[in-house]
Symmetry: C2
Subunit: 195 residues, 2 copies
DNA sequence: GTCTATATATGGATAGAC
DNA sequence: GTCTATCCATATATAGAC
């Protein structure tokens, strides 16, 4: 059975990424030293530079990996059904995807200002592509008379902000399953954009 | 005319706070040095320690100042009207208050993990007091049959996340006035919790 | 109250041995 | 590929002169 790189790979490269993601999420990019990352991996600091040219590139790789995974999963999903069905699917997907990788979400939203200007633009472009899919759903729904929003771009950002906020309070050990949380948020999203 | 401390005070103490708030918002607490703050104020680094015992306390003071101002303004507002009127007033207040102080909002939401555990609890307690007011409005509305939310606590956090998200995209030079933005968000909030 | 100077620690990154 | 050792820059915070 072939082994692909992933969270539990035993090779050093992915372990560097995993350790950096965990520590950046907990303490912030600027507050984490390369020595701390190395200690988490179980190597000395110098060894990290076999896997990244510098700390900035390590951050970029983490954020780009997250955005690539997000867009790749969206691309696999069918675009079947009317606006209402597509909006529900998007809502449930967004919550589930984000709750499954809290560290990557945290880093991707909090560390944008620690990207170099060039790297920032790279990530922003990916984020806009994701937002554009939701905006397209809302526009289609408005055109079909199913939805009513004053401004599709603002509604897009409002919905995404509401949904992403789930990551600030959800704990797997809590009283609600992910599916129950999805249903609660879907009820609010559905009504918020309803005609 | 008496002069009170504020954003444009000419005394060093408030200028240290203003400079720190601006730089922490732009670059992050951990990425900003005391020397940078001092340069922004126009003094040498050592002089800052006449106004704060250390960098951590400076962060706490900024965040506590923001939360105190938020709660003080809420306390001044009348609690008149039914749940629908109170929800609209809360929604419009939240957007306006947050858009008026983008740096303080940014720091207060992004730098929680850079607070010491003890200071974190101080700020969290203030934040919960603010959330509790909105939750009370939603509960009252549900009891009156005006609102329908599956879980008042989750609805509270969802609404606040949606509203606070406005700070990530709003620019004063843009096409919409604050009042127009308030109206757009109020339309979505009203529908999201409607019975 | 602000300055200069400094104690002390830690940061990112690199060189060269193994 | 990882180690040890180190370069060099910068960090927080303090001491004492003015």
């Amino acid at each position: 059975m072939a082994r692909t790189a992933g969270s539990h790979s035993q090779t050093t490269g992915p372990r560097v990424h995993d350790a950096a993601l965990k520590l950046f999420a907990r303490h912030g990019f600027a507050a984490v030293s390369m020595r701390q990352i190395a200690a988490e991996v179980g190597v000395q600091a110098g060894a990290l530079y076999n896997y990244t040219p510098d700390k900035q590139t390590l951050l970029l790789d983490l954020m780009r990996g997250h955005m690539d995974a997000l867009l790749a999963e969206r691309a696999q999903r069918g675009k079947h059904g009317g606006p209402l069905e597509r909006l529900e699917e998007f809502t449930r997907f967004h919550i589930r995807f984000h709750l499954e990788r809290p560290d990557a979400v945290f880093v991707s939203y909090m560390e944008l200002r620690n990207l170099s200007p060039e790297n920032f633009e790279t990530i922003e472009a990916l984020r806009r592509r994701y937002e554009d899919e939701l905006e397209g759903i809302l526009r289609d729904g408005v055109a079909a008379g199913l939805f009513a929003v004053a401004d599709s771009k603002i509604a897009t950002l409002a919905v995404i902000a509401m949904l992403t906020g789930v990551t600030t309070w959800y704990r797997p050990a809590g009283r609600l399953s992910v599916n129950e949380v999805e249903t609660i948020y879907w009820d609010m999203v559905r009504k918020a954009v309803a005609a």
